[in-house]
Symmetry: C2
DNA sequence: TGTACATCAGTGAACGCGCGTTCACTGATGTAC
DNA sequence: TGTACATCAGTGAACGCGCGTTCACTGATGTAC
């Protein structure tokens, strides 16, 4: 019986400190972390509610205090992913500085970096039909809106008669970035022996594409 | 007891005729069909060996006569997918007729059409690590080679000093087509309200990209 | 400051389920003579 | 053409497993007085 040993009573927020008594203290976060490790290690089908509970050091019934069911946890990972992506994109775009062209390129690179650095989030975001969950869909829309608004700004630098539809541009950028991420940056699988880094491949595609629309490096 | 009723004894090849006695007659194909329906209906995780057997009207042990295990069936679906894709791409390219530019565009459209018409194959091809199975990897390489060879031919129409690397071009085309397919053509999920058909979106991207490289409609 | 009590976040045992896989078997098929 | 036999492709019952989920419960926490 070791009560009294580490009754740190860290209270409300203390995440990492690990006061593991009868009450976990931060189980919700711990479950999300566990789910993400599992997804990153074993793919989306490798994540199970039971194993997440096990990794969090908790009985298999405990997660139900924090998530309605297994899918709710998965959806939360996806939602957070879009949220983080939105922040990363916003930061990369930096309101069009130093110039819209350069900033737009940075946007593409930021997308790919996100996919690489947050594989678990990324996989969850595009797996299954979580986008039908309202919260997830909204988060996804907000992230996409960053792309669209940036495209709008970039398009405005062209002479009035030669402007492509901004929405189409945004979709093309998304397609390029997602295609690159899904083909060449997924956790376990290097799909093809690439002669270059995925990031460089995407950047090259970006430049060619923008040039095709009539944009030129400032 | 209804033996004798339909002892058609259709023998070796007769697939569709359905002589369902003690011997199925075409179980291997029936299992592949069942697996594909399951994948198309429920996604890749919806496919189970047991359910495939059930749909083929056969005991759960029967599939083991034809496939080492569950993954072997899945891999076979993926392998066939690449094989069919290779044929479709070859046909669309049509050895560069009527002209290499037009034929190259047709290649992109054929890729997307394949993803839409054969969702089960497509999902299997890019799910899991089946590309590590030698047969699947080889089939995938052959399909990609069609793309690469076409890019090579197209590149050769440019003046010597202005030729982009054909491999890079092929990869970009793949990225565009796969990105479009994965974002907008997956079975259950319309990811975003598109203002246009996925095919048109891809074609537009294609044209812009090729223009950016210095190609022009013939 | 101390005590009673409501609330909350965990336990642990149990359930039903469907899966992948194995086993000894048996009915049908095709071939040698 | 007919019979014996090897081979093959199925059966069906059984297994162990881990999952998602539920249930009545209990230990810890925080609040009212």
């Amino acid at each position: 019986m070791s009560w009294g040993k580490d009754h740190d009573g860290s209270g409300s927020g203390g995440a990492g400190s690990g006061g593991r008594g009868y009450h976990h203290g931060n189980l919700r976060e711990a479950l999300i972390d566990a789910a993400m490790s599992l997804i990153a290690e074993l793919g989306p089908s490798g994540f199970t509610f039971a194993e997440a509970a096990r990794r969090a050091g908790v009985s298999p019934a405990a997660p139900y205090r924090h998530f309605r069911d297994r899918d709710a946890l998965m959806a939360e990972v996806a939602r957070r992913g879009f949220e983080i992506l939105e922040i990363a994109l916003t930061k990369a775009w930096n309101d069009g500085r130093p110039d819209v062209f350069t900033a737009f390129e940075a946007l593409g690179r930021a997308y790919l970096d996100f996919a690489r650095l947050e594989p678990a989030h990324y996989v969850a975001m595009f797996e299954a039909d979580f986008q039908r969950t309202p919260e997830v869909k909204q988060a996804g829309d907000r992230a996409f809106e960053v792309l669209r608004a940036a495209a709008e700004r970039l398009v405005a630098t062209l002479p009035a008669g030669k402007r492509p539809p901004a929405l189409m541009m945004a979709l093309h950028v998304w397609v390029l970035a997602h295609g690159t991420a899904d083909l060449f940056c997924r956790p376990g699988n290097r799909r093809h022996a690439l002669p270059m880094e995925p990031g460089d491949l995407l950047e090259a595609a970006f430049l060619v594409y923008l040039q095709g629309l009539g944009f030129h490096r400032p």
